[in-house]
């Protein structure tokens, strides 16, 4: 129920009450609001109509809500019916009784006897007045006969005599109405107002003359006031009631006609009684005519009252029902909202009764629910974030993690497993580990390791010792590459396994790292050591061998026949040459093992490359080397001699790779590229690095070579120590840089790129400024 309708109802009821009071006040037999009675009635009807409309609107809304099954409409309808019934039923009973009463009682007022009595009374009065009038007429007749023929002067005496008989006045007039002689009760009064009119004279000329009762009720119309009730008072009017007779004087023929007028007041008691009767008669007639109207008026007023009462009752029923139902509706709304998950507090009903308490406790309940739910939410969010954190840690770990259940079935694994083992284990979760193709040997090693550990544990628990044995095993496992793919080298992993006591039953967790690189590094360190020792051990006897051979030749050359001398010379030369070669080789080994430490100083890499390329370039257009040097390259910290060796080695490798090309192929080409690289360091700061790449379009590295390119004595060339790239790697490592070798993505040619991270201080500064 909207506020506007509510106010309309209240205001309408107030107006209706006032109007009804006015109507009831005006319905009595008084002059109150006489002239505006119909307006008042109309207003009442209009207000009743407005209220009816309002109630219909209410009922229609209630009905439509009821039909639509809106929540609370049933309660509302029941309450409205209850209250309206309480209001309407007694009113209806009173109305019926009143209508019955009015319609019968009013009829009973109009008694035929009373009417007849009043009629007779009136007739009596009329008869009395007629009697008096005829008496006066007779008197006038005799007086007129007396006056006939008398002159005007002597007529006055006759008239005075007549007046003495109880007349008010007597006049003798000519045909024009002119006064000829007069006599009156009290002398000296002005008689001119009493002169007969011309019409009266005309009538007097007829036989029988003019005889009329005059005066009496002189009801004055008041335009503005309806109060004419008191003017029917007979006593007031009686003073003016009089009889007038005008007759023609029977003159002898030939004399101008003259008229006699006699005025006589009606005796006061007769006049007043006659007036009372006539007034009563009139009023009775009025009532009689008005009785239908009166009944209509009473019934109408009663009906209006009933209607207003009904409308008021229904309206009030709506108000009361609304007030009663509203807190319940608020609560119901609240429960529905809670069911939908909205735990916000409801508006509180400000009453001190049970309903108010109910809504308050309801709000308290939803508040507690809200608290509990938000706590659960918080816990869940914390758990989820912890889980996500763990998962991301696991996913980004370099080590592979595989979780197995008690039967060796893969439960879970992280991304690193895929990367290391080249098998998407995560996609095969749910399969036994040993059923996964390519991992049979790995699975076997893991199973054996777990068996061995459990055996050891059993043995330990049997012997009662506890302390030393660790809870996990650790083992290096070689995983052979799948057959048919012989380019790949074997993978060496370091695996750790432990039992998982969590969850239903037991499980296993295997963590492993790809240690192929570590192995490779160990191998190169071992080779270095071997080379150094060998060089030392081999180099010592070489000089005596060489010297002995030279000495043999020198001492024996002259003492031998030329043929033998030639043979000797050939043999000693061979010895010396081979010893020289061996010395050089040993020197190479020594250099590799004991390279001098790099002396770092600011250096322009582009300058260095340009100097070196001068040696390779013929500048005649047939060059295979193309340089693309980035201008403004920051200066790096480096040892010019060592870097020169690096570049020489790489260019040499590239040129060697291009020698065995089929002639019909695209022209050979070597690209030397330098550029500045900007990166974000681990501490979040931006850094600059210089990259040097040497790319050829030769056959590229063989896969077997590629993975071990930086190990010594790994070479694809017929002649070569296999120390070139290891040397380069060693130097680059000393410069704190990174080196990567790879085959080009299009499959033709190799690419070696060196990233120098140590820049000259001022260059670093400038680069930072530039990037800022």
């Amino acid at each position: 129920m909207t506020k506007a309708l509510r106010y309309a109802l209240v205001v309408g009821s107030a107006i209706a009450s006032i109007l009804l009071f006015l109507l009831a006040s005006a319905s009595d037999n008084s002059g109150f609001l006489d002239r505006y009675f119909s307006w008042l009635l109309g207003l009442n009807v209009a207000v009743a109509g407005a209220l009816l409309l309002l109630v219909i609107v209410y009922l229609a809304r209630l009905y439509s809500r009821y039909k639509a099954g809106r929540f609370g409409s049933k309660l509302m309808a029941r309450l409205v019916l209850l209250f309206a019934g309480i209001g309407i039923l007694p009113g209806l009973v009173i109305f019926m009784v009143s209508v019955q009463f009015v319609s019968h009682s009013i009829e009973s007022w109009f008694d035929v006897k009373i009417e007849a009595a009043l009629d007779s009374g009136l007739k009596l009065g009329q008869a009395a007045l007629d009697e008096a009038l005829s008496d006066l007429g007779a008197t006038a007749g005799t007086t007129a006969v007396t006056l006939a023929g008398q002159p005007d002067g002597s007529a006055r005496i006759v008239l005075m005599r007549t007046v003495d008989d109880g007349m008010q006045s007597a006049m003798l007039l000519d045909a024009g109405g002119k006064l000829l002689a007069s006599a009156s009760e009290d002398h000296g009064t002005d008689l001119s107002p009493d002169l007969p009119t011309a019409q009266m004279l005309r009538q007097a000329a007829m036989p029988g003359g003019y005889a009329r009762i005059e005066g009496g009720m002189d009801r004055v119309v008041h335009d503005n006031s309806g109060d004419n009730n008191g003017e029917h008072n007979g006593l007031d009017a009686a003073t003016g009631l009089r009889l007038r007779v005008v007759i023609a004087v029977p003159e002898p023929p030939g004399v101008a006609p003259r008229y006699l007028q006699l005025l006589q007041g009606v005796p006061v008691n007769l006049a007043s009684n006659a007036e009372v009767i006539s007034t009563a008669y009139s009023e009775y007639r009025d009532r009689k005519f008005g009785r239908t109207g009166l009944r209509k008026m009473y019934i109408g007023t009663l009906t209006l009252t009933l209607l207003l009462a009904i409308f008021g009752a229904i309206g009030s029923a709506f108000l009361i029902a609304g007030n009663l139902a509203q807190p319940l509706l608020v609560l119901a709304e609240g429960t529905r909202a809670v069911a939908e998950g909205d735990l916000s507090p409801r508006p509180i009903v400000e009453t001190s009764d049970e309903l108010g308490t109910l809504t308050q406790s309801f709000n308290a309940m939803t508040g507690q629910l809200f608290e509990a739910r938000s706590a659960v939410e918080r816990n869940r969010a914390a758990l989820e974030s912890a889980k996500a954190h763990l998962e991301s840690v696991l996913a980004n770990m370099s080590a592979g993690v595989i979780v197995l259940d008690a039967d060796g079935v893969v439960v879970n694994s992280n991304d690193a497993v895929h990367r290391i083992l080249q098998v998407d284990v995560a996609a095969l979760a749910g399969q036994p580990l040993d059923a996964i193709q390519g991992l049979e040997s790995f699975a076997g090693a893991v199973t054996r390791a777990f068996s061995a550990q459990s055996a050891a544990q059993s043995a330990q628990s049997a012997s009662g010792r506890r302390s030393q044995l660790r809870a996990h095993w650790q083992q290096q496992i070689e995983i052979p590459r799948r057959s048919g793919n012989d380019d790949d080298h074997d993978i060496t992993v370091l695996a750790r396994g432990s039992r998982l006591p969590v969850g239903v039953g037991s499980g296993f967790i295997v963590v492993f790292d790809d240690i192929s690189d570590v192995i490779s590094a160990q191998r190169s360190v071992a080779w270095g050591e071997v080379a150094r020792r060998l060089a030392h051990e081999i180099k010592n006897p070489l000089t005596p061998i060489q010297l002995s051979a030279e000495r043999l030749q020198m001492k024996l050359a002259d003492s031998l026949d030329p043929q033998s001398a030639a043979l000797l010379k050939k043999g000693t030369d061979t010895i010396v040459n081979q010893v020289d070669a061996m010395k050089r080789m040993v020197d190479d080994f020594r250099d590799y093992a004991k390279a001098p430490p790099a002396v770092l100083s600011p250096l322009d890499l582009n300058d260095l490359i340009a100097q070196i390329l001068n040696l390779y370039l013929a500048e005649d257009g047939s060059d295979v080397i193309h340089a693309a040097l980035a201008p403004g390259l920051p200066r790096v910290m480096g040892d010019a001699t060592q870097l020169r060796q690096v570049i020489h080695n790489l260019l040499q490798n590239a040129q060697d790779a291009l020698v065995d090309r089929p002639p019909q192929d695209v022209p050979a080409r070597i690209d030397v590229v330098t550029e500045a690289i900007y990166y974000v360091g681990a501490d979040g700061a931006t850094g600059t690095a210089v990259r040097l790449a040497i790319v050829d379009n030769g056959p590229g590295f063989a896969p077997k070579i590629l993975s071990r390119a930086f190990e010594p004595y790994v070479t694809s060339k017929a002649r070569g120590t296999g120390l070139g790239l290891p040397m380069v790697k060693k130097i680059v490592d000393e410069h704190g840089g990174r080196i990567d070798v790879a085959n080009r993505s299009d499959g033709s040619g190799a690419s070696v790129s060196i990233l120098l991270l140590k820049l000259a201080p001022e260059a670093n500064l400038a680069a930072n400024l530039a990037s800022a």
């Binding site: 005006a26 319905s27 037999n29 006489d34 002239r35 009675f37 119909s38 009635l41 409309l53 219909i56 609107v57 229609a60 809304r61 009905y63 439509s64 009136l122 009065g125 009329q126 007045l129 009329r212 009762i213 005059e214 009496g216 009720m217 009801r219 119309v221 335009d223 006659a274 007036e275 006539s278 008669y281 009139s282 007639r285 009025d286 009689k288 005519f289 008005g290 009785r291 239908t292 109207g293 009166l294 209509k296 008026m297 109408g300």
Partner: protein, 187 residues
């Protein structure tokens, strides 16, 4: 649903209103209507033709006064504003019967009372009233054309309250003319 209800109600109201307006003119015809210019102002020269209903006749003969009101209005249309109401006059005539003296009185309010022996004579005086001064000469502008609305009716406001109620739905108590409209060019 509510809308349909309202429509039904509105139809009923319109119907009722139409009935009331149809009943509005009962019994009185204006047979002559003329406005004359005289020295002291404009006068209405009108004649009416009607007869009392039997109820009214009985009521008059029972001593109940009956009032007749004549309303006249002269307006000049103005395109830029509401009409100019030059003259709006109203005259009420009372007819009553003195049951004691058995004579009929006709009293135009503010004038002398005339007495007649019979009802017909008294009614004749009401049907053919004297020329009634409706407004001074200054009220109208000579040469202008005015719309005149004339109406004559038995004035129910003077009836007693029960009769007023009765008259609402009883044509015995209703005596009215149409609104007679004509134009008058002021002289």
């Amino acid at each position: 649903m509510t809308v349909r209800l309202f429509r039904l109600l509105a139809c009923q109201l319109l119907l009722a209103f139409a009935c009331v307006t149809a009943q509005a003119a009962d019994g009185i015809d204006i047979t002559r209507n003329r406005i004359e210019a005289s020295d002291d102002g404009y006068r209405l020269d009108a004649m009416y033709s009607f007869d009392l209903t039997s109820s009214l006749r009985q009521a008059v003969q029972g001593g109940m006064p009956v009032y007749f009101t004549t309303e006249i209005e002269l307006t000049r249309p103005r395109w830029y504003w509401t009409d100019d109401r030059a003259i709006a006059a109203r005259r009420t005539v009372r007819l009553d019967y003195d049951v004691l003296a058995r004579v009929y009185h006709v009293l135009a309010i503010g004038s002398v009372q005339l007495t007649y022996d019979t009802l017909d004579e008294a009614l004749l005086a009401i049907r053919r009233p004297g020329r009634w001064l409706i407004g001074p000469r200054s009220a109208l502008k000579p040469g202008e054309t005015y719309n005149v609305t004339l109406r004559m009716f038995m004035d129910r406001d003077y009836l007693q309250k029960p009769l007023q109620i009765d008259a609402l739905n009883n044509s015995d108590w209703r005596l009215t003319s149409h609104k007679k409209t004509f134009t008058y060019r002021a002289e």
